[in-house]
């Protein structure tokens, strides 16, 4: 896990937009001073609300746009020309593919750009078509495909060169639940093959299920990066305490200014951090209550994400 596959240093992108017919120029900082590292074999999820700079980062990695400041390294070499892209598979956000080609023609075209010879092309295309579940439609024109089918074909083209690094921009956005499940399985399969996967998403549950590490981007800045467990634990952690207490004492429980649920003489209290726990335990003892359970609550990625982007 110590081989650096992606490294960015002070990466920034500023767009200039002209309005009022070119009379007024507006500067938009899409990405600001991004320092990020992704290691071999890991699944890295890049999360953030719309306009956070996720797609800008991905376009900078794939050289579709050029940085205003900062540098990018792929596979340990500075990404100054297209050579590193030989080992990269890229799926754009909601890809638009050539509607006048059939799925098979399109994959063949992409394979030709990678310089694959005819036999390898044919073999790989057949395997990938099967893998992404497009066997029945592969001879049809892409313009007749549904969004989900285009997404699957887009994924197939990203895998055509058997890449070491996969860069996927919102890969699950236009897939139905079955498609998302297939996609997650595929990502895990690719991870098991030793591939590195960098993907952006706003579907947090998917990221939570498959990512080894996450980075949260907000307004062009990377606000946090790390393993989900570490990030969650770095925050105050909620605790649920259940205890039995004599019904005569229950009226006093309002004194505990936390979430409280009372069912008969059973009380459930949710505390927002462990610090408040010792004082509650003393209180229970004072009331003559009996402690039933203390359960630490794992913060969901969504909770954490919302906390970070609202800061």
């Amino acid at each position: 896990m110590n081989n650096l596959i992606i490294k960015t240093e002070g990466l920034a992108k500023v767009f200039k937009e002209t309005t009022y017919g070119g009379l007024k120029q507006k500067t938009i900082v899409a990405l600001d001073n991004l320092h990020c590292e992704v290691f071999q074999g890991e699944v890295f999820a890049f999360l953030g609300p719309n306009g956070a700079g996720k797609t800008t980062t991905i376009k900078l990695l794939t050289r579709l746009i050029f940085p205003t400041r900062g540098r990018v390294w792929l596979f340990g070499k500075e990404n100054v020309d297209h050579t590193a892209m030989k080992k990269v598979g890229y799926l754009p956000e909601q890809p638009n593919l050539y509607g006048y080609l059939t799925g098979k023609e399109f994959l063949n075209f992409i394979a030709q750009i990678f310089g694959l010879d005819k036999q390898v092309r044919r073999k790989r295309i057949d395997v990938l078509i099967e893998r992404v579940g497009l066997s029945e439609r592969v001879m049809h024109l892409i313009r007749n495909y549904s969004r989900g089918m285009v997404q699957r074909l887009g994924l197939a083209q990203a895998l055509i060169n058997d890449p070491s690094l996969l860069i996927l921009d919102e890969p699950m956005a236009s897939l139905d639940p079955v498609g998302r499940k297939d996609f997650r399985d595929l990502i895990l399969e690719l991870k098991n093959q030793g591939k590195t996967i960098f993907f952006s998403s706003h579907i947090l549950s998917d990221a939570e299920m498959i990512a080894d590490r996450i980075g949260i981007l907000n307004r062009g800045k990377l606000v946090s990066v790390g393993k989900l467990d570490d990030l969650s634990h770095s925050q105050t952690q909620p605790v649920e305490v259940t205890f039995i207490v004599d019904s005569s004492q229950i009226s006093q429980i309002d004194l505990v200014k936390e979430n409280v649920i009372v069912q008969g003489n059973r009380v459930l209290v949710r505390l927002d951090d462990k610090e408040a726990l010792s004082s509650l335990l003393r209180q229970i003892d004072k009331w003559g209550g009996r402690l039933e359970s203390i359960i630490p609550q794992r913060k969901s990625l969504e909770d954490y994400f919302m906390t970070e982007v609202r800061k």
């Binding site: 050289r63 746009i65 890809p95 050539y98 006048y100 992409i110 990678f114 310089g115």
Partner: protein, 254 residues
């Protein structure tokens, strides 16, 4: 290999484009129509067929060049299909050259079809074909390729509407180059003199590529007119390709 892959893809794109097929059918139909028009002009049938046929070839070739040429780039950029290609191990100059090559093949096939229609019409009407039209057809092809390069050049950095307008302006000024030169010479002190002079030198003189009247009327041509036209046109094409590549290689594909 990569340039060829892009060229082949571009070729497929253009020949599967209904606009192209429609323009081609219309052009060939119009050339065949000279069978009727030629009948109206007593003793001038052969001349009318050649004149009309070559003009139709030039105008429809130009229409294909402008509409397909601009569409080719703008569609890639606006529909963002370019993301999938430009992120692959391919240089941006290879993408431009591949596109120009693919479109050139389509245009040349069109010229071949239109030439067959023209010579076929001649054969039906006159019982013979005039191979003396070939130099004019060759230079029409060069002119169309040059206009394609202008269309691709403009559409690599401005919108499709502006690209179409600028390309048509270049075509028009290019054919009025002689008048422009005369105007500058006769009225050297008029306002905007420097601007007109600038335009005169930047925009190619497309009349150099126009041998239509010369071949139809069997006029005496200056020696090496075809070779000069060929080199002149190719020189401009190379220059435009270079500029397009420089602009396209540096631009962000947003």
């Amino acid at each position: 290999m990569r340039i060829w892959a892009v060229a082949l893809n571009t070729f497929k794109e253009t020949i599967r484009n209904r606009v192209l097929i429609n323009i081609l059918i219309f052009a060939i139909g119009l050339i065949l129509l000279t069978l009727i028009i030629g009948d109206w002009s007593i003793y001038q049938q052969a001349k009318v067929i050649k004149d009309f046929g070559l003009s139709a070839m030039s105008i429809f070739g130009l229409l294909i060049a402008i509409f397909i040429g601009i569409r080719l780039m703008v569609q890639e950029l606006e529909q963002k299909t370019i993301y999938v290609i430009a992120s692959k191990p391919i240089n941006r100059w290879e993408i431009i050259l591949g596109k120009v090559l693919g479109l050139s093949i389509t245009l040349m096939i069109n010229i071949v079809f239109m030439s067959i229609a023209l010579w076929g019409t001649e054969l039906i009407q006159e019982g013979q074909i005039d191979l003396g039209l070939a130099p004019a057809i060759l230079l029409i092809t060069v002119e169309i390729l040059l206009i394609v390069c202008f269309a691709i050049f403009f559409s690599s950095f401005i919108s499709s509407t502006l690209s179409a307008i600028f390309t048509i302006v270049v075509f028009t000024i290019g054919h009025l180059s002689g008048f422009l030169r005369d105007y500058i010479e006769i009225y050297p002190d008029k306002g905007f003199h420097w601007l007109l002079k600038g335009i005169y030198y930047i925009v190619p003189n497309l009349e150099i590529l126009n041998l239509k009247m010369a071949v139809v009327e069997h006029l005496e041509q200056p020696p090496h007119a075809v070779l000069f036209g060929l080199l002149y046109g190719m020189g401009y094409i190379l220059l435009l390709l270079l500029l397009t590549i420089i602009i396209f290689s540096k631009r962000d594909l947003k």
